[in-house]
Symmetry: C3
């Protein structure tokens, strides 16, 4: 168990200490649940009232909130308690799951696959023909990577994830559990004789940039031709759908249950709220924000925030909602 | 094949029989599909018209609907046909899938893991370091449980499910296929140098109570610190998202495609309808109901029903919808 | 790498060539990305302006758009460029992933299972007791099929997919990654003593017709009794939920994130847009269209298009939306 003194924590956080303590700290907790060996946080005024009764051994607090609390618990006074919390979380990060052997003999690795130095491959994994794992790739148990893929340096792939053939994944990515990368895009055409639907073959692939994180049970389909692209630094939450031929710029965020229909383009730094969905062939330009729950049916200009179903400028939509509320009471 | 006489069924259901029959019954079916060895049901007046032409060998009917039907098919007259159906479904429950050997030698079980008596572990399963399975736990093929987890008595975990390190799961739970428990919560902060997003480490875990059921392809993320908690008796449908630091009370219900953003709190007995989503840091108090498709953006009082996007009191929302419909016709 | 001459492509597409070329063509690409060994497409007037500067070696164009372009790149003039593209995609389809051996000795096949001729079964697969795989079934690595299932001729099942006991799957189906078929339906009743919720046992199964495609991480639950049925030729996208006792007719389409609650019936050729959800016990009659994002709360007549939440006739809903927009500006 990791353990640090108050002085060590103060040094890490560049914090001023309100009083000394000989306590060793082994973790973090909420004010109302923390014990004497745990650090807690006050990052907004509404939590200051919970200070006095807290069992925490120390409390990190914003400089500008310090005057709101008084009591015996030592304070670590910082500019930004949220940032301090993020640093402490890194400090207390537990070790990752262990591998009894680095490359399990219960994994199947095709004779033509290449495995870089320092890779870890758990039991039940499958690495297909001609697939290349760069240095330091970790595949947790029961990951499947099919043929002709390439996985970049130090990328981590958690159990249950499947990466279909010809996918290209960058370095320092994290794919959580049961992710599906590179399945066929969803496209059909009416049969010439009207008897039903004919599948449109998808010969493209998926390209994922560096530093991309993809949440559990999310899906990125491969392109009809060319590539579905997820740019460097994108962060994708759980249960997200990214359809064939979508192109995401750098550092986009998509929250849980959100979805892009086919051939949607996102600029850089676009934020898609939870459960929002975007119509096919739409472009959301850089820095735009789609609020949670929205249904976007047309292009969104750079930097704009849209809201609602159908999505419009968020200020317009809030006015619409207010008007409808009034109408309902009339 | 399980087979019961009319008298046996009547005894089980505490039913009155309208006339005797020597038929043996092997299952249940709809009125319009049932054969002479099957039982069918009339639990509401609208189905009574299908009685006469049914091929069923017997029909379970509500006492108060008996006067609506006349014909030759024996009736099992009960107070509540829906409850009687639930009892018959239990009676006819088929055997669970077989294990050739109780603990497959194609499963990987870490030398430091503990496996209770009566556990069944299928091929392709992974049980990580120091993980403890209590008595009678069943892992169907290709389940992954990583390090330092604990799984309670007689919990059943179906194929494809992944449980990440440090998760605590209660007794008598059922996790369906491809569930993801304990993946990293979704949290980032801007890098100090503005170059992109920095991952916030999530050092907490997931705690699942007793008697919890989690549907296929659903996700419960682990907490930033402390725990994401799903209380005793909660029932979670398929493709549901429960984000980091959510806390669910006892016996909550979440229907398919619904989602909770980070740090949402549900009281006891809360019902979240299908495809509904709840904003982060929101509290839905005990006994509240969120109707299907709703988008909840603020706290909901105990016992209240909210509806719509944005969600409001359901009666208010229905009035708004009526007003808008009228407006559209003006 | 597959390679074809201009004349070969023209013959396949029944196209008229604007001028000859000795180029060999190895693939397809967008006008602005294509190289001299790639074919590109102009299927609508808005792309015609990209013709002159394209690096493509040939361009397939609709007959009626030919007059909009002039330049050196040979044209393949066809009636329907979209259809021509679909044909070329089939032509250039890459080989499927390889199997080192047809039936991997790292797969577990129960002694009572039957495996048809020409089946391929990858490492980590599980085939349960009495399950029958017809001729030419392909199971990619880490597929789980439990007991008493039947999988039809030449059906392909991708990695991570789980098919629960007693499921019946037709011929020529494709199930993508991490699909969950046949999990318990979501049904509970209050306990007699009010102590919580009692699980309703689901003794039915799932029946999937021929030529059905089911997208990654989608779910089809089994029926309470009788069967959940997905008719011939249905095409289901990613992250779709089909609850217990739903019945889908022939050739229905369900786009990503859409969902059917319990006992929903779809006629033939019904189209459900992305993220749309349908209330339980509702019937959507043949040829009806539910627009993306809609929440359907009642039956929909054959051939009708509904839109919005709550869903109504699409023309009515568009009028409502226009009225609300006007109201917000008042």
């Amino acid at each position: 168990m990791k353990s640090f003194s108050l002085n060590q924590l103060a040094a890490l956080l560049n914090a001023e200490i309100s009083e000394n303590s000989t306590q060793q700290f082994t973790g973090l907790n909420h004010l109302d649940a923390a014990t004497s060996d745990q650090v807690s946080f006050i990052g907004s005024s509404k939590y200051s009232k919970n200070y006095a009764a807290s069992g925490a051994g120390a409390v990190v607090i914003n400089e500008n909130l310090k005057h709101l609390v008084s009591g015996a618990i030592p304070l670590l006074v910082v500019k930004n308690a949220d940032l301090a919390m993020a640093k402490l979380l890194s400090l207390y990060e537990p070790d990752a799951p262990e591998f009894e052997t680095e490359i399990s003999d219960r994994a199947y690795i095709h004779p033509t696959a290449q495995v870089g130095s320092g890779c870890k491959i758990g039991p039940g994994c499958y690495v297909g023909a001609r697939t290349v794992l760069a240095e330091g790739v970790t595949l947790y148990p029961n990951v499947t990577i099919l043929d002709d893929c390439s996985i970049g340096t130090r990328t981590t792939i958690w159990s249950g994830t499947v990466i279909r053939e010809r996918s290209v994944v960058g370095a320092f990515c994290i794919f959580h559990n049961n992710v599906s990368i590179g399945a066929d895009g969803f496209g059909y055409r009416p049969a010439d004789d009207g008897s039903g639907l004919v599948k449109i073959v998808h010969i493209g692939n998926v390209i994922i940039g560096n530093g991309v994180e993809i949440g559990a049970n999310s899906c990125v389909d491969r392109a009809k031709f060319a590539s579905t692209i997820v740019g460097d630094g994108c962060k994708i939450d759980n249960l997200v759908q990214i359809a064939h031929n979508c192109i995401l710029g750098r550092c986009c965020i998509m929250a849980g249950h959100s979805g892009l229909a086919g051939s949607v383009t996102l600029g850089d730094g676009v934020v898609i709220g939870g459960s929002a969905s975007i119509k096919d062939h739409t472009t959301i330009h850089s820095g735009a924000v789609v609020a949670a729950g929205s249904g976007v049916m047309g292009d969104v200009a750079a930097g704009k925030t849209v809201l609602g179903y159908p999505a419009t400028d968020s200020r317009d939509k809030l006015r619409e909602w207010a008007a409808v509320r009034k109408l309902g009471k009339a």
